[in-house]
């Protein structure tokens, strides 16, 4: 096998890796020399928009993230809040937009798999899945195929792993014709004193790989998710990842079983940019180095190169640091569940990510600077003036109210979504006490009187008309939905879907929405504990409507007090409250 790690790093190669000149200069500065091919690949995925949040970081920092009940805010795999009695709710929302457009079933399925891993990585048993979906116009020739594929993919994965999909939202608008949005959220439960974090520690401790084998899946997926679509990315058909929910289910059980012992120091799922981002984040988070021997990485395909192994996005894999001497105990658990288990390296005191392959060092990068000195942009933006207010008096009343009502009820954005949620097992675990169809989903905290209320909301046309008010409204809507079922809203996660941030008008939408989120969250004492940003949702220069999807979580201390929409008896009085 001939493979050259020391190829000439040409301008073209740098460009292919999506690095700007300035970014490449920064990379030279960090290394103090020219990168190897493997190193270039690592920089490219770590500094992609998807992994580095380079366009959004500056603004995300302004969001309120603290409250007495927040155990863990943004920065970890998911956010954690205290729900009393020594219990914690762990949740996050994430996008899988681009892969779902290319292959709706697998794209959506692996999106669900990814967000589940973010949550059980932290020690939580996932108890509910939600999703926020946007499709193009119902008349667009692709919409049907995309909608049915996405819904089947979400169901196919969630149903098999046995986590109920309890709600979501679905909108149709032509701005999503070429860029659908698939945002998935998972909520999990853990003991508040048994939360697992990703920061590695303990020089000499073993670094362990568990789960599925690594193949050549979705190499450059993370950079793909950060690039705008052109007509021919449809033709290029990049390798999409295939999800294996069966393995994920085993991985959940095996990880939770190991977490019940005292063996784990740190754990991180391999999400976008797989082995690269997990090892870099674990090392930099703990201020230590990682030395990995890539020959020991379980491989599905022959002749895989270090470059491919580091960039692969194969699903259903996790990276852990164990306490010394616990390898055999951990291995026995993973073998019992028929999963791969391999010690692939150890923690060092160098602060570097050092990779060896066939006896040769193929990469040696300071992990801290790679993770923390990533570029950060203050992209130019222009404020979007709010669209003129339309006065209700200026619109003629419909001639026939009954007909107008029927038309609304039958319209794609308002009609029943039962076709969707009947394809999801929304009852498995037998704790779903408010099924899809209500204002918020309600899931009991198993074996207690408590329950969690969950709602995902956003009205993109409001955000388009006035980003600030639209951002506020999305937060407020989850608040109202949770309140309406009897819950006390506690915190939110979000998935901020926008077009190309290099365009000042789009960046203006982003900044406006963030300001709206910030003000609404502050006013409501409703902090942001996790989130995700998906930019470049744009095809041939046409961006999507700004879509900051919000996932709110609230608590019902006494689930028997839950409210539902349905009238309970004849003669009940209807009351209208609010302005």
């Amino acid at each position: 096998m001939t493979w050259n790690n020391n190829v000439e790093i040409t301008e073209e190669l740098i460009k292919e890796h999506g690095l700007s000149d300035d970014e490449y200069q920064l990379c030279l500065k960090i290394l103090g020399r020219t990168p190897t091919l493997t190193e270039l690949g690592i920089f490219s995925v770590m500094w992609s928009e998807h992994c580095s949040y380079k366009s959004s970081k500056l603004h995300l920092k302004t969001l309120p993230t603290k409250a007495p009940w927040v155990i863990q805010g943004p920065g970890e795999n998911a956010g954690v809040i205290d729900i009393g009695d020594g219990q914690a709710a762990i949740f996050k929302m994430e996008s899988h937009n681009h892969p779902s457009y290319i292959e709706p079933y697998q794209g959506a399925a692996t999106g669900v798999g990814g967000i589940l891993r973010d949550v059980f990585t932290m020690g939580a048993r996932p108890i509910a899945n939600m999703n926020a979906l946007r499709f193009g116009s119902p008349e667009h020739p692709k919409t049907r195929h995309l909608l049915s594929g996405v819904v089947e993919g979400i169901g196919g994965y969630g149903n098999c792993v046995g986590v109920p999909t309890v709600g979501g939202e679905t909108n149709f608008h032509p701005s999503y014709d070429g860029n659908i949005l698939v945002n998935a959220m998972t909520v999990g439960l853990a003991d508040a004193n048994k939360i697992f974090l990703s920061a590695a520690a303990g020089v000499g401790n073993p670094v362990v790989y568990v789960g599925s084998k690594t193949g050549r899946d979705g190499i450059h997926g993370a950079t793909m998710a950060s690039a705008e679509f052109t007509e021919d990315s449809e033709e290029k058909r990049p390798t999409v990842q295939v999800g294996d929910p069966f393995t994920e289910k085993l991985l959940i059980e095996a990880c939770l079983e190991l977490m019940a012992t005292d063996a784990i120091v740190a754990i991180q799922d391999m999400g976008a940019a797989g082995l690269t981002s997990s090892s870099v984040e674990m090392a930099s988070g703990g201020g230590v180095g990682f030395e990995l021997n890539l020959d020991n990485v379980p491989q599905r395909e022959e002749h895989m190169t270090p470059y491919e192994m580091m960039l692969s996005e194969s699903q259903e894999r996790m990276l852990m640091v164990l306490k010394p001497g616990h390898e055999a105990e951990a291995e026995a658990i993973f073998r019992k569940w028929d999963l791969d288990f391999a010690v692939i390296g150890k923690i060092t005191d160098t602060g570097n990510l050092t990779l060896t392959f066939q006896g040769e060092t193929v990469a040696d990068i300071p992990a801290g600077p790679l993770a923390d000195n990533s570029p950060e942009y203050d992209r130019p933006w222009v404020k979007k003036d709010p669209a003129a207010t339309v006065s209700a008096d200026d619109i003629a009343a419909p001639n026939d109210l009954g007909e107008a009502l029927l038309k609304m009820v039958g319209s794609p954005n308002l009609c029943s979504r039962s076709w969707i949620w009947e394809q999801y097992d929304h009852q498995v675990m037998a704790d779903t006490i408010q099924k899809p169809g209500g204002d918020a989903a309600v899931v009991r905290v198993h074996d207690t009187d408590k329950a969690l209320a969950i709602s995902t909301d956003c009205t993109p046309r409001y955000c388009f008309a006035d980003p600030y008010e639209g951002g506020k409204q999305a937060v407020a809507e989850t608040w109202r939905n949770i309140t309406a079922v009897g819950g006390t809203p506690l915190a939110i996660t979000n998935c901020l879907n926008f077009g190309n941030p290099e365009r000042p008008d789009i960046m203006g939408q982003f900044v406006g929405c963030i300001e709206g989120l910030r003000d609404a969250c502050s006013a409501l004492d409703y902090p942001v504990v996790s989130g995700n940003v998906s930019l470049y949702n744009e095809t041939n220069g046409t961006g999507i409507h700004p879509t900051p999807a919000i996932g709110g979580v609230g608590l019902l201390k006494d689930s028997s007090k839950m409210a539902t929409m349905a009238p309970k008896a004849d003669g009940e009085v209807l009351v209208l409250v609010g302005e």
């Binding site: 089947e152 792993v161 929910p245 069966f246 085993l250 949620w421 929304h426 498995v428 009991r444």
Partner: protein
């Protein structure tokens, strides 16, 4: 009542079944791992729902060949009650303990909703707490619940009163609207709907309790 629940890799209604058995019968079931070839001495063995082995190849096919199932078959032959729900029903047909097969739903879609079932035979250890012809409302959640058997088998099932439940509004294309059947000896029952999901008011009703109450009755 002493019971056992067999857990396969990617069973996912095992906990629900364990909780229901414990809540209604008052006794915690034993848990049997698919690789265990021994099962404690029990009155009932339950095969839970889920996606054993990912539902890969055919639903229930791999679970049906596990060491634990060898023992389940031996116990069933001795007359021990065996109760399979959803994936458990699929496992029972794959082992041949019950006739027929469960094919992909006619709609090709997974279906999760409440359905009305008519109790067709109350003279079984699983249904004696219901009334003949009673209509109960129980959730289904499956992709492959479309019951198929050839004409002769169907006739035999019908003539012997072994169709225990029928859908009032068939959600999956099952022949003769079959939702659940029992073997000739009346100790092995398989059904697609999930009674274990409906045992307390908070879950939206208690129509599923009758199954577990029947099992208790039949022991007394």
């Amino acid at each position: 009542m002493k019971s056992a629940v067999v857990v396969f890799p990617a069973s996912n209604c095992d906990r629900d079944m364990i909780v229901a058995l414990e809540k209604v019968t008052g006794q915690k079931p034993h848990i049997v791992w698919h690789q265990d070839s021994e099962i404690p001495d029990v009155d009932l063995i339950a095969l839970p729902g889920g996606f054993s082995f990912g539902d890969y190849l055919r639903c229930g096919a791999m679970a049906a060949r596990s060491p634990a199932m060898k023992e389940v078959i031996a116990r069933a032959d001795k007359g021990v009650n065996v109760f399979g729900v959803c994936n458990g029903f699929q496992v029972l047909t794959e082992t041949g303990l019950l006739p027929g097969a469960l094919m992909r739903n006619q709609s090709l879609k997974f279906v999760c909703k409440h359905v009305d079932l008519k109790v067709e035979n109350t003279d079984t250890p699983y249904t004696n707490a219901y009334e003949q012809g009673q209509v109960i409302n129980i959730p289904v959640a499956h992709h492959d619940g479309n019951y198929f058997a050839d004409d002769d088998t169907l006739k035999e099932l019908e003539d012997d009163g072994r169709v225990v439940f029928r859908y009032m509004d068939n959600p999956n294309g099952s022949r003769n609207d079959i939702a659940g059947i029992i073997n000739r000896r009346k100790n092995i029952l398989g059904m697609m709907p999930h009674p274990e999901r409906l045992i307390e008011e908070a879950q939206g009703g208690t129509d599923g309790r009758g199954f577990f109450e029947s099992m208790l009755n039949s022991l007394n």
